[in-house]
């Protein structure tokens, strides 16, 4: 009996040492880019079997908090950290945009078969509660020919805090001063009107089932579920439907004004083909990494992500970064010291 036990222990010890070998890099993540990050870590581990990325998709709030407290090696967020959060962090965190996502208005109008056009004023008006009926002249103006019903608009928004909401309200506050003043920008806000659905699926479920409802969901979600999404008028005055190309175009349009720390909102970006309700999602990497091995691994991953990683994004319906931004980020990797 004893010898068997001893043998088991020896085997466990051997196994343990074998398992302990790959270096563990811990991360706390935003939920929006989770599918693509998970794919990346998987692919990267295939090339570098001595590395293991251990990450949790816990939301941007946790991503920022844990990275600031240095309880993880890297964090991720769907909205850039504000100055107050930057000042509070125990270590200076660098933002690295990884991919782009877009948010689209989706609606349920049984009578209308054509796709609707939305102007920024219409979207802001509907979500502020100042435009209450589908046959409002503002909506009719943008949709000549569409037979708009004389029905109350039922607004649906996210009830859970989310990067999707952040991008949506960031856009509304850029195009409507009234929104900025009354509601503001955040992952959760004090909605002037409407029902709350939990998650993309909650909003989609409510919109699909409630005639005359309008809501907003991530582009990926709308595409996968074949939900009707309208075109939105961009800052060049063109109505653009969300697509991977239109989102990358928005990022390219915004890249001229890109600050060195990449903390930027690209909603309402300039460019004829740019879709206006889009955003980066960021990795948060500490400027100083104590363990040189880890520093090397993390910068190695960043370089790979900017080259090979970008190619994997469109298959998962994420928009890849434009060339200009990739070049800027490759330079910025040099700021990481280890």
């Amino acid at each position: 009996m004893k010898t068997i036990l001893a043998a088991v222990f020896v085997m466990l010890a051997l196994l343990g040492s074998a398992w302990a070998e790959p270096m563990l890099i811990n991360g706390a993540e935003a939920t929006f880019p989770y599918p693509v990050y998970s794919k990346w870590f998987d692919e990267y581990a295939k090339i570098n079997p001595d590395l293991h990325f251990n990450y949790q998709s816990i939301g941007s709030g946790g991503g920022i908090r844990q990275a600031s407290e240095q309880t993880v090696d890297f964090g991720a967020t769907d909205g850039p950290m504000n100055d107050e959060q930057m000042a509070k962090a125990k270590v200076k965190l660098l933002h690295f945009p990884t991919v782009l996502g877009a948010v689209v208005p989706t609606y349920n109008l049984p009578e209308v078969q054509t796709e609707l056009n939305f102007t920024p004023q219409v979207l802001a008006g509907i979500f502020l509660g100042t435009i209450t009926k589908w046959n409002d002249p503002e909506i009719a103006k943008a949709n000549p020919g569409a037979k708009l019903p004389d029905k109350l608009i039922i607004v649906v928004h996210r009830s859970d805090g989310s990067g999707t909401t952040y991008v949506w309200v960031d856009y509304l506050s850029k195009v409507g001063p009234e929104w900025k003043e009354k509601v503001g920008v955040g992952t959760s806000v004090n909605w002037p009107t409407g029902l709350g659905g939990k998650g993309n699926e909650g909003v989609a479920g409510l919109v699909k089932q409630t005639p005359y409802a309008i809501g907003y969901v991530e582009l990926i979600y709308a595409e996968q579920n074949k939900m009707p999404s309208g075109a939105v008028r961009n800052s060049d005055g063109k109505f653009v439907k969300a697509s991977i190309a239109a989102v990358t175009a928005a990022a390219a349009g915004a890249s001229k004004a890109m600050p060195a720390d990449f903390r930027v909102s690209i909603t309402n970006a300039p460019g004829e083909k740019a879709y206006p309700i889009a955003s980066f999602t960021w990795l948060l990497i500490p400027e100083k990494i104590a363990d040189p091995k880890k520093g090397k691994a993390i910068t190695g991953f960043l370089k790979w992500m900017l080259k090979e990683g970008q190619g994997l994004a469109p298959a998962l319906l994420y928009a890849p970064l434009p060339k200009e931004i990739v070049a800027m980020e490759e330079k910025a990797i040099g700021q990481i010291k280890y």
């Binding site: 941007s60 709030g61 955040g186 992952t187 806000v189 709350g196 909650g202």
Partner: protein, 312 residues
């Protein structure tokens, strides 16, 4: 039994006593630690808002102005509504199963009812969204506003989601608690009670009303309180159908919000310290409400079981 009460008779007995005592105490310790941690981690909002937090009605995460009243209201009203529906139904089922149903039906039916309690709440939520919400919007709410529309409770646009639907889903979820506990308690009522009144020529209904229910009253109350505690803490199913709007509206057709739902919804993306701690304080308020309800329920159940034991 007597041996058991005298400590120190054998070392094995002492060890047994110590073990179960530690287990019992650990429950108290865990509850205490939860309360302590909830208070400790909600210092910022307690200092900033004080007691006014309990009756503040604004919930603005952007401006960081927080008040808990809409959530407190939503939790209490949705739970009360659930009980209003679930108590008569649950009690009816329990009476049928214990007094009227033949044995071959009673046991399997009771088993099925208890199975209802094992369904995950997210399933109730999904059924709520896909089955109940359209039905409420297209059938129930128009019917209610058509007949009882003179009451402010049944006015407004039929959204489908809202306080009424949340109450219905919660009622379905708590009925099994009422049925299964009440049935056990009704069956514990001594047969002599029933025989006595039947021999006086009472009908079945009179027997239940006069001889059985009064005897089981406090135990049934206990089952109702248990159901209430369950309803107060329910999160997932409620948030999926209540509409998640932090406002106090009289009409049951209007959307509302509950304490458990707002914590689940907003905790993951809450970035500022004050925001996170305010959500924890909501948890503290919910904890206090639930503890109160649970304590009352425990006392009631305890009293009925000891009484029954003594008389038998």
């Amino acid at each position: 039994m007597v041996l058991f009460r005298r400590p120190g008779v054998s070392p094995a007995d002492r060890l047994f006593r110590a073990t179960v005592f530690t287990m019992a105490v650990s429950v108290l310790v865990i509850t205490g630690v939860i309360a302590y941690e909830l208070v400790r981690n909600s210092r910022l909002p307690i200092e900033k808002f004080g007691w006014a937090f309990l009756w503040g009605t604004t919930w603005d995460p952007v401006a960081e102005r927080f008040g808990a009243l809409p959530f407190l209201y939503g939790t209490l009203v949705s739970s009360a509504l659930a009980l209003l529906i679930a108590v008569p139904v649950g009690l009816g089922v329990a009476i049928f199963l214990s007094e009227l149903a033949p044995r071959w039906l009673s046991d399997p039916a009771a088993f099925m009812v208890e199975l209802l309690a094992a369904i995950p709440s997210v399933i109730y939520g999904l059924i709520g969204i896909f089955v109940l919400v359209p039905w409420v919007r297209n059938v129930l709410e128009p019917a209610l506003s058509g007949t009882l529309g003179f009451l402010p409770l049944f006015r407004g646009a039929p959204y489908g989601v809202g306080m009424l639907t949340a109450g219905l889903v919660l009622a379905t979820m708590v009925v099994p608690f009422i049925v299964s506990v009440s049935r056990e308690i009704l069956m514990a009522v001594p047969h002599s009670q029933r025989e006595a009144i039947l021999s006086l020529g009472a009908t079945r209904w009179e027997m239940v009303r006069v001889a059985v229910l009064p005897y089981a009253r406090s135990g049934i109350m206990g089952s109702v309180f248990l159901a209430l505690a369950r309803a107060l803490g329910e999160t997932m199913a409620v948030t999926m159908v209540i509409g998640n709007r932090p406002e106090i509206r009289l009409s049951l057709f209007e959307p509302g919000y509950t304490m458990a739902a707002v914590i689940a919804n907003e905790f993951t993306e809450a970035t500022s310290d004050l925001y996170v701690q305010t959500l924890i304080e909501i948890g503290l308020v919910l904890f206090a409400v639930t503890i109160l309800v649970n304590a009352v329920a425990r006392l009631l159940i305890y009293s009925v079981f000891t009484k029954v034991e003594v008389r038998e």
